[in-house]
Subunit: 102 residues, 3 copies
């Protein structure tokens, strides 16, 4: 019958490594309980910032939470960083194991 | 008309780097034919383990397979590691190119 | 009522690090406007290439675009690289923030 799983939202953010510490502080303050960060390199541009990304210093941030919390975090990122930093963010529907108590 | 694709399940596991070799042996023994591992850092906690994750030594493991195999692997991880290691795992629906022989 | 988002396709490619520069040139030539690359290690084999992957030198390439462009890029990779390089690629449905002008 398959595993019992629950739907969550994965928020993935590709952005500049220079703001990693600032983003970590933001997530802590916004009540995000867990996140994963990894190094990446890339090319792209976004919004009013015309310059290409730095080729060698990007990061990927991943947060798994419920949809409202993912939207709250992305709304914050959009308001605060989208116009001044190279940033691409997207939602993916994922399934996690249902906690035993359910 | 679009490409011919087939549905698969992507199992992503964020966990402690200290158990990478153990998990590789598990996957080999369970018949997992391919996996990708990358380094990450993060914060989080899970299950009965109260401590926060080590900030600097995490890994991401990704396995693409059919759903039953993904559930078998995740069931194994849950039984064996969820209570003693920081571990977050989730399923994502993905599409791969249909093999030529189909 | 939730954020206004738009559907996009995430194309993820796991392949050999040795062809990173060639693939970047391909993407530029094919009009791919942004991509993210990160280092990985893995095991797997694919298609007519029987050898296992090099354990230590793989990359993950991620491109977010519309579905036709993702299929165009994957079609190119399949034709050009699938028979001679270890390569696994898959599509994931994702949501990005709707641009303000929509």
């Amino acid at each position: 019958m398959g595993m019992h799983t629950e739907k969550r939202t994965l928020l993935t953010v590709f952005t500049e490594a220079s703001i990693e510490q600032v983003l970590i502080r933001d997530m802590d303050r916004l009540g995000i309980r867990g996140y994963t960060i990894s190094d990446a390199r890339g090319k792209g541009s976004r919004g009013v910032r015309d310059a290409s990304w730095d080729e060698s210093r990007n990061i990927r941030i991943e947060v798994i939470c419920d949809r409202p919390q993912a939207e709250m975090l992305l709304g914050h990122l959009q308001t605060r960083y989208y116009s001044n930093y190279a940033m691409v963010a997207f939602f993916t529907d994922v399934e996690v194991l249902r906690p035993d108590k359910f």
